[in-house]
Symmetry: C2
Subunit: 154 residues, 2 copies
């Protein structure tokens, strides 16, 4: 486990990453702005909010001619997540999706297409969240609205 250092100065929730100053952002997160981290950050944050799997980001990196291995993709995604630049979402017990929007919001999960998209406008409100079990505190509340296409019924 010599990879994946816990960054000291982790960013706080809801940070928005500009398409510039990536270098500074990485440094602020305690991560050296290396070629692959810069390139991956660019891919992740340049296009607005996204939900990517490791494999998808790997493909995009290949398409963009960014030299990077799948192992590095995984390491980087986790480093970014630990740094608060990404958020991991568990919708599908098969792969992990990483969300570039770390703010408070919820998701649609499109069954069949295995795709995650944001619920717009943060419309959803969850009421009456119960007391967590004894000695526990709530770390996050996730709402997943699973949808399927009206045709092509599974």
């Amino acid at each position: 486990m010599e990879d994946r250092p816990k960054p000291a100065g982790a960013a706080t929730d809801g940070v928005r990453i500009g398409s510039t100053d990536l270098s500074a952002t990485l440094r602020g997160a305690g991560l050296r702005p290396t070629r692959q981290r810069m390139a991956l950050a660019e891919l992740l944050f340049a296009k607005g909010d996204r939900h990517v799997s490791a494999e998808r980001l790997y493909e995009e990196a290949r398409e963009a001619k960014v030299p990077v291995s799948l192992a590095t993709i995984y390491n980087t995604l986790h480093q970014f997540t630990d740094a608060g630049l990404l958020r991991a979402i568990a919708v599908d017990s098969a792969r992990t999706y990483f969300d570039t929007n770390t703010g408070d919001h919820h998701h649609f999960f499109i069954e069949g297409k295995e795709e995650v998209i944001d619920v717009p406008d943060d419309a959803i409100k969850v009421e009456n969240i119960p007391q967590p079990p004894d000695g526990m505190e709530i770390s996050r509340v996730d709402v997943i609205v699973r949808v399927r296409s009206l045709t092509n019924s599974s």
Copy 2:
């Protein structure tokens, strides 16, 4: 894929399985009441609402001296799920949990212990669920309240 037949007469949501009539329940779901299906159904439904992983059920079966293979555990869990006797929950992108309560309710997920428990009383209400994307219908809304112990902070 000669295993895992889609049962014809799938049970409707919210069915409660009594500790008896397992045989009839299985038949009703289009599944032959075989030794292992009966035994697994017994393990699953006799003790009230539970959230089990395949591996956990496998252990329980071994402890109960039920002769069954892990492959059959997986097949059976999926057959029961397709039949509406179980519900699969994705909380942790690592393993799938199966819930014996198929009714409308939500979950706590205890980080660290990797354990799923029901939110009591169906207290949670989700408001303002937005329109699904075009040509899509909502199949389910899942709320996961992630909790962690106050001590032992991760």
